[in-house]
């Protein structure tokens, strides 16, 4: 049976070149980068090389890249570190309703400990209105955190405008760029970003390694305390092989960016077009103009997402209902709710994400399978276009 992975936003396979780059650091060049002898010096150089590769992908300086254990840790560090460091200045944080749980649950934690958090609304395409941000700012606001690209609907936020507003008020601006990295061009200097979260496993690197960009001059508290690693800002023996893998993945992402965007967006567009041609009562969620190149978030009316997902899986096709880390939960997606999509439709929504390994044949297979699956489930369903909801 054909196997088609269309969940690149959940995680990506690690590219062979990336694995090859990592391998020596397990068995041969295993020195602890903090040690003083020669094989440790090689580890230290490997760290420096990877830092440069990540920095170059986003237009940062090497000194501004701090490796973390994942995108989640980068998000936690940014918000907890800013909240702690700026407590005297204020206790108000502004974010959005469509952030990843790494941000939302960190904010909820802070709310229970004396911080106020404003969760901005988004429009029906998932975009934040800069005027809403402007209006939410108070003299107690210490951090604005707005994601670069949403993980469910793929909407790209107007980061440059939003960061400019933060800057005008001298407020720190953080963006969760986990889904943006390697999928949209990012130049942190040009965009005016102070803090930015990244993760390797969304760009064909290994899982369990991420980074936080901290603009030179920005001071936030440490979050993992201990040894002097990462220029004394993030303790813990470095995930050497993981960092090397992230570096290599970042380099590939940088050199392939144009090609990657072209490849994924054309297949994604083909997928949407074919689905709309072959299946009725389908909706596309999110913005078509400001969108992650690989993302197609589609609602199939009158049927339920998990059922579709499992039928597709039986046919070798991997897609997701919302974000991977909420797939075990039953609450309807907070992102789709924020876009104003009616709950019964949210339940019938699937996220397809196309990646570098996807082919046109894959899409053809997915569309024909999907057509059967949707038909079958609509036959079983107690609701339909005739009967209504």
């Amino acid at each position: 049976m054909r196997q088609v992975y269309l969940d690149y936003s959940a995680t990506t396979p690690v590219k062979q070149e990336v694995v090859d780059a990592m391998l020596p650091y397990f068995t041969e060049l295993y020195g602890n980068p903090s040690s003083l002898y020669s094989i440790a010096a090689e580890s230290k150089e490997a760290l420096a090389g990877a830092r440069k590769q990540v920095a170059e992908l986003i237009g940062a300086e090497e000194k501004e890249i701090f490796f973390t254990s994942c995108g989640t840790e980068a998000d936690n560090w940014a918000v907890m570190g800013a909240a702690d460091a700026l407590r005297k200045k204020g206790n108000h944080i502004i974010t959005t309703k469509i952030e990843h749980h790494a941000m939302l649950h960190s904010c909820e934690f802070l709310e229970k400990r004396g911080y106020d958090v404003t969760y901005l609304d988004v429009d029906s395409e998932g975009r934040v209105n800069p005027a809403d941000l402007e209006a939410a700012i108070t003299d107690k606001t210490i951090l604005i955190s707005i994601m670069f690209v949403n993980n469910e609907v793929g909407t790209v936020e107007p980061i440059k405008e939003l960061a400019a507003i933060a800057k005008a008020h001298k407020i720190l601006f953080h963006t969760d760029a986990v889904q943006a990295l390697g999928n949209v061009p990012i130049d942190v200097k040009e965009l005016g970003i102070d803090l930015m979260s990244m993760s390797a496993h969304k760009i064909y690197g290994p899982k369990g390694i991420g980074a936080l960009y901290i603009r030179k001059g920005v001071k936030i508290s440490n979050y993992l305390h201990g040894g002097a690693q990462e220029n004394k800002k993030r303790a813990g023996t470095e995930n050497l092989a993981g960092i090397v893998g992230f570096g290599k993945a970042a380099e590939l992402a940088r050199t392939n960016l144009t090609e990657h965007i072209k490849h994924t967006s054309s297949l994604r567009d083909y997928l949407i077009q074919q689905v709309q041609e072959n299946i009725d009562n389908v909706y596309v969620n999110g913005s078509m103009e400001h969108r992650h190149p690989g993302n197609a978030n589609l609602t199939f009316e009158f049927i339920e997402g998990e059922a579709m997902l499992l039928y597709l899986d039986m046919n070798g096709i991997a897609v997701s209902t919302g974000s991977a880390c909420s797939s075990a939960s039953l609450t309807p997606s907070h992102v789709l709710s924020a876009l104003g999509i009616p709950v019964e439709r949210i339940h019938g929504t699937l996220r397809f994400t196309v990646g570098d390994m996807t082919t046109k044949e894959d899409i053809d297979y997915v569309v024909s399978t999907l057509k059967n699956v949707v038909n079958k489930l609509r036959e079983i369903s107690s609701v339909s276009s005739e009967k209504g909801w």
């Binding site: 039928y311 039953l330 309807p332 709950v343 369903s381 107690s382």
Partner: protein, 147 residues
Amino acid sequence: MYNDKVMDHFMNPHNVGEIENADGVGTYGSPVCGDMMQISITVEDDKITDAKFKTFGCGSAIASSSVATDMIIGMTIDEALELTNKQIINELGGLPAVKVHCSVLADHAIKSAIYDYAQKTGKHYKGLEGFDPNADEDDHHDLPEEA
């Protein structure tokens, strides 16, 4: 996540459809909770001789509908009214804890269908006492996670 039996009932559900001129029809749940089930039954001599379902819902809701309709065919009304979601789960060989409520849906839909039959025929069943087909429909989502 689901066992083989659940997957089999989900992939190849039994008794899908609507009985024409059914003796009782009941629906339970709401699309808003992500699950809605309709069950129609044929009754002869107080015995359920046929049952069909239509379900908008997840894998576990569809599998529960399939196995529950299998179970009630051949049962007397009183027996069918005794059917609990626990029995449905057992018949399925178990469901993940977060999916237990989907089987509650099935036994409620069955009760609703019988209620409809009782209304139409003016019959009274002990098992229906206190049953309100229009009771709060997302009750089943508030069940404890472990069951």
